[in-house]
Symmetry: D2
Subunit: 306 residues, 4 copies
């Protein structure tokens, strides 16, 4: 039954999804086919359903911020992380620098905007970019249960070349003392984690792992403490879709995190994880078709928690 719901959802959403536009500020992302649409859903009991282009690979982009934040909370503790990064939703766009200057103590508002994610990464107790990335990648593999999670080299290099705004954010934060260390090295690991390649099914399993309180329903491994999952879900619910988070809460009503690669991971506590993929974005940088699919699915299966 759920399989046919997923199929229907894709059909209904397709005309709308075409009105979005693929991200172009990272040239490599601009090459994606805007017509792709995929969806997968996984239960905390270990069932999984898929439809459309669910097995197409795309890069996690901002979805990876959930992974590195989870890692940081485990490795250095919730308290230390949130002494450096806030938990406030924000109406600023994802790459805003203004508020960092304006509001002392110049702390990024939350770990799901770029500034906050970069600070979070910098706190990881690993030597260099590659090690930091591998720690994030390993956690991502455990959350998704997929060993086949790798760096998309082309996207990584493309990001690295066109990341003036992120460089500006990082240098600014170091100038006001909120970020320490080797900027290029920290950014390098940030670009790598953004370039981790997944498919919609991977995201569905990751969402289900977060929904279950940290146990991957497919591998049975406890991947994260349930307390960490609660924090991640709360931040996803309030800040997960940049300045589109409020509208998403109204329309869909479940914790989720989007990325400009076109993916969104959603997590319905104690019930389901969902992964959607549609590279054509709305003006706020969220998958246009992805949001629409989640909205329909939320109605159809009564997934709202809000």
């Amino acid at each position: 039954m759920i399989n046919s719901v997923l199929e229907t959802v894709i059909q209904q959403v397709r005309p709308l999804a075409r009105q979005g536009r693929v991200a172009t500020y990272i040239p490599e992302l601009g090459k994606q086919d805007p017509d792709l649409l995929g969806i997968a859903m996984a239960s905390v009991q270990g069932e999984v359903w898929t439809a459309g282009d669910w097995d197409r690979k795309f890069t996690m982009q901002s979805i990876s911020k959930v992974v590195s934040l989870g890692l940081a909370m485990v490795e250095i503790g919730e308290e230390r992380v949130f002494s450096r990064v806030g938990v406030d939703p924000t109406a600023d766009p994802f790459n805003s620098i203004m508020r960092l200057e304006m509001v002392a103590p110049h702390r990024p508002q939350n770990p799901l905007i770029n500034a906050g994610a970069i600070v979070t990464l910098s706190l990881l107790p690993h030597g260099e970019a590659r090690e930091r990335f591998e720690a994030v990648r390993d956690l991502a593999r455990r959350l998704t249960g997929s060993q086949d999670l790798n760096l998309d080299e082309a996207v990584y290099l493309s990001e690295k070349e066109t990341s003036d705004r992120n460089r500006s954010l990082a240098y600014f934060m170091r100038s006001v003392g909120v970020l320490e260390g080797d900027i290029e090295d920290i950014l390098d690991s940030y670009f790598m984690q953004c370039s981790l390649s997944v498919n919609a099914r991977d995201l569905a399993v990751m969402g289900a792992t977060l929904a279950s309180g940290g146990v991957n329903p497919f591998t049975g491994e406890r991947v994260l403490p349930s307390k960490v999952c609660r924090v991640l879900r709360a931040l996803m619910a309030t800040c997960g879709l940049y300045d589109g988070s409020g509208e998403f809460a109204v329309r869909v009503g479940v914790p989720a995190k989007s990325g400009v690669g076109g993916g969104i991971v959603a997590s319905v506590p104690m019930r389901y994880g969902i992964g959607v993929f549609g590279p054509a974005l709305d003006p706020k940088g969220n998958s246009l078709g992805g949001i629409a699919m989640l909205e329909k699915l939320s109605q159809e299966l009564s997934l709202r928690v809000l």
Copy 2:
């Protein structure tokens, strides 16, 4: 059993609650006893539990914004309301004017900050301040099931005299075209709705009505359409505690709305409404003891939805 949980929660929270400070910018609010603590919980099946100073009256303040927003959605439609007010969470304080100037089209970010609530009120199709207020009060009575919901004249007059910031917001909004009509009259109804007097039990029933999808479990009346309740709960979850909304989502994880009178209404979809009262506030203007009680109760009874 729940009664004893409520009692315990109050005992545990009391020492912390004393560290807060009553609101002083409205002189009349400054007269409240900072040691008061009350809590009430109501189920969507029509049960109710209470503890502490649950029957002390206090003014709704910003909690009334939920009522007037619900009224506006019913009377003029969700679409018209949200063409004038956004649904974006914001990291600005509740009375910020800056973003209104900075970001065209100068629309308030959401209906739960002061600017947004004033615009929402102005959209109601009622003649004058008193009528507008009475429509809000009547909806509040139906949501709480209490006929004993009246204006606290002393607080109302105190607010009216010390409302420079709200006047500034309103005149600013009219100057940029986002607000129309007689400013003093609109503000008058705003001060009146803020001065509606309730107790914790009233808020618990109101929360339960929102939780049930709009049917008051005690009177059996359908007070609001379920779609309106979904919007209200989503906005409460993302913007309900001003710039403390993110932290509240992490710590408590349920939709809620606070007021500087010391009250908080929480709504656990399909399960419970909770009303808490503690006039000593944290620096963001939320009840210090109220948040702590909700956090403990959320853990104790597994109320989190996020």
Copy 3:
């Protein structure tokens, strides 16, 4: 000779001046004939030259801020004035409220933007709006040597009705403690001083009085101390044309103050005062023809001091 220079300047500027637009945010100002152009020049030795519509009356608008600031410095002392208002040029538009919120201690940047002028007026030790206004008007009469300086009732009433932004500024400033007193009364005197009616010759004499260090070259009266004139000229040079002050310094290079009524007063220290009038404004609210006339005159007669 100078008379013919003035005539030539008007002829040359006329085609450009027509591209401006009369102020419309005050309805009464919108009724002005955009084709009017007048100019007058007065020397500190007591000579005067005129051309074009030099005897057409218009309202001082922001030019009156120079008068009330001079008055405040005389009546309560430079130090007290500048403990409440800064002397910083600003790149914000004349009616910006943002910076007031953003930058503690919420002091207006300088006395020539609206917020600063309103605070300055509030500091005058006079009982009520009418008295405050009459003190400003009397100083204006002495600066211009004209007894025929009166309130334009129509403009005054029009301003009073359409002053949402100024009301917003004033209430905001009172809410943060930078402004005290009866807001409506203070604003009333502000609207009155803005509505003082002058002609280009009046402004030329006023400019010459400031240029001479405070002695009106026509009446021989010492109207202001030379130290006060120095402060006024310095503020005119850096902040006199709102966010067009920098460009004006480059193009014209003399201290000046503009008003949205279409007038500009310029003051060439030790040499001349100049009054220009052209109600068609540029996008920053300065007289398009007025600036162009001053630029040509500055070149022709080597008036630059910068």
Copy 4:
């Protein structure tokens, strides 16, 4: 006579000057002796007077922005420069990034703040950092008439290492399209020009050259067109001391430009150039003793032009 005025001025200012603090954000600057005070004055007729530590070398820092702006106007034309950089005074600190984000089209307000100076440098039609720097250095040599103007290597390396804020500004500007080219190379030439070593006498001659309309009174060479000097003096008058420009206009009333190395160059049109040096700064980054010396000198010799 003027020599004794200069000596007196130094004596009078010494106690105040000691209350300032040397710049510390560039470590090498922090090593300066805060008690140094030097002054020099040069007339457009080719006279020169000196007192105190007038021959101590210090780095130009922001004073070099005047040189590179002059160079850019000569090499690519005033129009092209000001299509990329504004001429607006600003109340923001010298290294502010906020306004760049906030106000489309994201153009730096003026060429004398860091962002504007970096853009100006990037427009120079020279191949690489070293060539760009040498062109600026050569113009500085001709303005000062000193062949002994060289790079202070220690300061240059220190700046290069501690320039997070400037890097942030530059990457931000490239991300919004206002800056093009190789960021590290552009910044390198910026750090080099800031590290040009001069003494107070050099600045006095530079000021006299600008005052004369571009002819160096000592070498007799026409170094800059008079039109370019007019623009430079106008910008110095309105934006020359960062957010202290307004107060400087009130207190001193002559065009001037400061640098965090402790120097200030002033230019009294048609009359004098003045160079002052005092490395102890006020909170806005301007030489505390330097401003005080210029204020006293301006009074003593009636130098005000405003």
